[in-house]
């Protein structure tokens, strides 16, 4: 009989801690009223960006997916449209980051990555909304508002992340 043991590495601990912070930020954001319905700053993404730049992209993907699942289970929206919206946004963002990973850090800082990911997030959500939730072309009327908010919050989140990284420099 072979004995299989799961070895919990230091890395796993890091992922758990960062995911916990990301979930906490998502919950804070959920209870905070938004001036425009549907427009959210996405402050949990600060933690994901921080993870990607402090550690690596693989770890960022883990934190992002764990955050989506755990937040939806806590809020009771697991497998509901809200959950799939949040999941598709997260997956599109991560996918865009994987594609643009090779951009030279000499010319592109995390601001670029944040903006690309926030735009991909909106595109992913709009695809789900158009195909499944509201199959009507009228929703594209809202697209400029969401692109504008993606730009503003993508920029703000990137600047906050940058500050966090300055406070905790890479080892």
């Amino acid at each position: 009989m072979t004995l299989s043991t799961i070895k919990i590495t230091d890395r796993d601990h890091q992922i758990a801690k960062l995911s916990a912070i990301a979930v906490a930020l998502s919950l804070v954001e959920f209870f905070f009223p938004s001036p425009i319905p549907g427009v959210k700053p996405g402050i949990a993404n600060i933690i994901i960006l921080y993870t990607i730049f402090k550690f690596d992209l693989r770890m960022g993907i883990w934190v992002s997916i764990i955050r989506v699942f755990v937040t939806s289970i806590i809020l009771g929206s697991f497998l509901s449209p809200t959950f799939f919206l949040s999941l598709s946004g997260a997956l599109f963002s991560l996918f865009s980051l994987i594609i643009f990973k090779s951009l030279s850090p000499k010319y592109f800082s995390l601001i670029s990555f944040s903006l690309i990911a926030s735009l991909a997030h909106i595109i992913g959500q709009f695809i789900i909304v158009r195909l499944w939730i509201i199959p009507h072309n009228g929703i594209f009327y809202l697209l400029p508002i969401f692109i504008l908010s993606a730009f503003i919050f993508g920029l703000v989140n990137a600047l906050v992340t940058n500050k966090l990284l300055q406070l905790n420099p890479k080892k």
């Binding site: 951009l103 000499k106 010319y107 592109f108 601001i111 670029s112 400029p144 692109i147 504008l148 730009f151």
Partner: protein
């Protein structure tokens, strides 16, 4: 304070500016294309504030209207309309060019001719019935 702002701008690299400019262009283009006004369907021609005639925009036709000081030529061309000649001195009406959106108007004050585009279905009410 100003020093801090300058410091935070310094971290934006060349490529970032490129992405930011692309993003701004995307916002402008999406606003322009997605927040387009509905296109008009009917044209109303007014002479001295009274409706002279109503035409559908879905045709190619040239109309000559007799105004207060002379003849005004109006061209309708499949969804858009313009003044092609007018007896007025400044020719503002001609320089306005083509119009095609609902609720757009061109007015020629000297000749007392104006045109306005109506959108979608033409609604009848107690005044124009």
């Amino acid at each position: 304070m100003i020093k801090k702002i300058l410091q935070s701008i310094k971290i934006i690299k060349g490529g970032d500016w490129f992405i930011i400019i692309l993003f701004c262009a995307l916002i402008t283009i999406s606003t322009k294309f997605l927040w387009n006004l509905p296109e008009g369907q009917y044209l109303e021609i007014y002479k001295n504030n009274e409706i002279l005639a109503t035409y559908t925009l879905n045709q190619k036709i040239t109309k000559i209207i007799n105004g207060a000081i002379g003849e005004t030529k109006i061209i309708i061309d499949h969804g858009k309309v313009r003044f092609s000649s007018a007896p007025c001195a400044k020719k503002y009406c001609i320089h306005q060019g083509w119009i095609n959106k609902a609720n757009q108007i061109i007015i020629c004050i000297p000749n007392e001719i104006s045109i306005s585009i109506l959108g979608g279905k033409k609604n009848y009410d107690s005044i124009n019935y």
